[in-house]
Amino acid sequence: MDRLKLVLQYFQSNSESISNGICIVLSLISVKLYTSFDFNCPCLPQYNKMYALGVMFVPPVILFLLGVLVNRHTGVLMEEWVRPLGRRTKNPAVVKFLLSSMLQRSLLAPMVWILMTLLDGKCFICAFSMNVDPKYFTGIPNSTGLELIKIMAKVPCKEDVIFKNSSFRKAVSRYVRCYSQAIGWSILLFFIFLGTVGRVLKPCFNHATFLQTRYWSNYLDIEQKLFDETCVLHARDFARKCVVQFFESMREDVTVRMPLSSAFRPSTIRNEYEEEEEEERLHGITRHDQVDHLLQTWYECKPELDVTRMAYKPKVCITWEDINGKALFSEV
């Protein structure tokens, strides 16, 4: 139980690491999807390019949208962006920070897919085999009576009969794959370089502001989680009390149970301590319309970021005095 608690605490404190984990899982899914996908070039001049470029670019769009969907920050970002002003000012820098971090994470899986297609080369061969000038290669099968472009369009398909005894197909494939891999590696190098430069130079600009925006974006995330948690606890206590009240309203005895100071209060289901805690957890919200009002206000008019009143509540201290004014007992 302790270990579970530790794990939960870790995850709760570190929502960034959850996002990173999800990001990596999506990339692995993208790799697996590519390897299990049966690439099927049509080998027809009018459809080759369309198919290949479709396979290269449509799955990245899907993966990007998926990445945005499963990212927790999307919800936080949209809520913060769209909410009415209320009593809390809006900080556009926080919104921008959330947006950029969400986009960075969501772009990883699409990039992985695109790089895989480029490094593998099948898409490129399918799309651009018709643009290769065949005069650089020997062994072109010109006895079939087909047009040149149709022959070139059939290059991606290994099993076609016209290429049975010639090395022409393999030579053209190798050539186009070369190009594909070169482009793939250059893109990878470019992005790594960009990332490195960005990381290294970031502290040079507005680091203090960056620390602030990072803190407040993390705060918004945690605040939303805690609100959901508090709602869950509240619903639980509400439900329990509602059910108990319902049972008690069916009492057959005509007894009047009067409220009592906590010292003499009869314990019903739980002992005093827990019952007081439960009362506390209800926070005085005990009616349907109160809960509705609470949720409406939470959205429309978020409270200001100032918990001084709660954190430094003045404590009532009691002093017992006898008739002469002499202090017998004091909590001060």
Partner: protein, 414 residues
Amino acid sequence: MDKFRMMAQILQSNQESFMNGICGVMALASAQLYTSFEFNCPCIPEYNYSYGISMLVIPPIWFFLLGFVLNNNVSMLAEEWKRPVGQRRKDPAVMRYMCVSISQRSLIAPAVWISVTLMDGKSFLCAYSMDLDMSEFDKNVSGHGLSQEELLRTLAKIPCNNIYDGQHILSREAATRYINCISQAFGWLFLLIITITAFLIRAIRPCFTQAAFLKTKYWSHYVDTERKMFDETCTEHAKSFAKICIKQYFEGISGEIQPFHDHSHDDSDEDDKPATEEDKLMGVRRQDTMNKVLWDWHTCKPPLSLKKIGDANTGQNGDCSMNPNKNEDQNICDKTDLNEGQNGFKCGYVNPGLDIGQSDSGKGHENASFSIEQNGFTNRRSNASLSQNGFVNGGVFSPCNTHRKAWAVYYSKV
């Protein structure tokens, strides 16, 4: 508090992650079922299309219904939909939300099946091989002297590798590739459409109706929690009911009456006393009462409005009455009786700051202990519980300001 937070986390995450887990398991099951299923195109013109399309469409329907069956929330939704209005009005938005969330989860496994089928291409090939347009391959249809029927029959054999006999008319691999291409294009399109729809629903939704969404989410979760709490409470009640019932039965036979909670009270700590069985009954002691409880729970749910414990405005000032059927000493006490003029009364107050300059009463502390010797009553200390024979409620003494939460209840154990 930490324990409760962790519990809440587990509860909340468990409920959702449990449903998500089932979702994921069904999606994997759907993919696995597809790979292990032996697709068997009939290669006959009359049946190809039906077989191909039914392989594409019927298993998703089956998975969708299975998702509904496995989802616990379906019965909750049906209950909420069908219950009479009673004291609690119905919120159609909550029911819509529950319906939508159940449907969303059930739609994942069918979507996986459809996309895997389209990506693989076999069912598309089977269904549409006869609709192949030969001009795509620049083949001259009439050049081979085949009638329309024979051509169709030849084309229908394309999905079957070992019986295809039209290689001289049309290369089987070229046709297969072409149709697979189209099938995969449809597959990716399908995935794109559902991803865009999901994105619009989840990412753009906060722009509209966010406050209403928070409300419906809370209340749908509340309905679920309340149902669980009710079942828990019923179980506890049934246990206590059964215990007391059996005990009474034995007593009825043996003719003796045992005091019910001798051993549990006398030496246990004040603050740590376990709830007695009588308490757990909450006053519901007969079969027909319990039946009424269960009946009314469905036909007339209570309003969503809790009464505060210790609310002094409930008009119970100074009133007391006794349990009419169970008590041996029928003493009605009212305000005037329990003045400070009587011996040995002490009172406890909720608000310790109250001025308690009363001559005969002792000082009021929250933890005051007291005893009364009056009319044979023996008072218990704090947390006196209901005895089997009922209890006597003491009234409030007049000097106390009736507006304050200053009540004292005296219990007796007869």
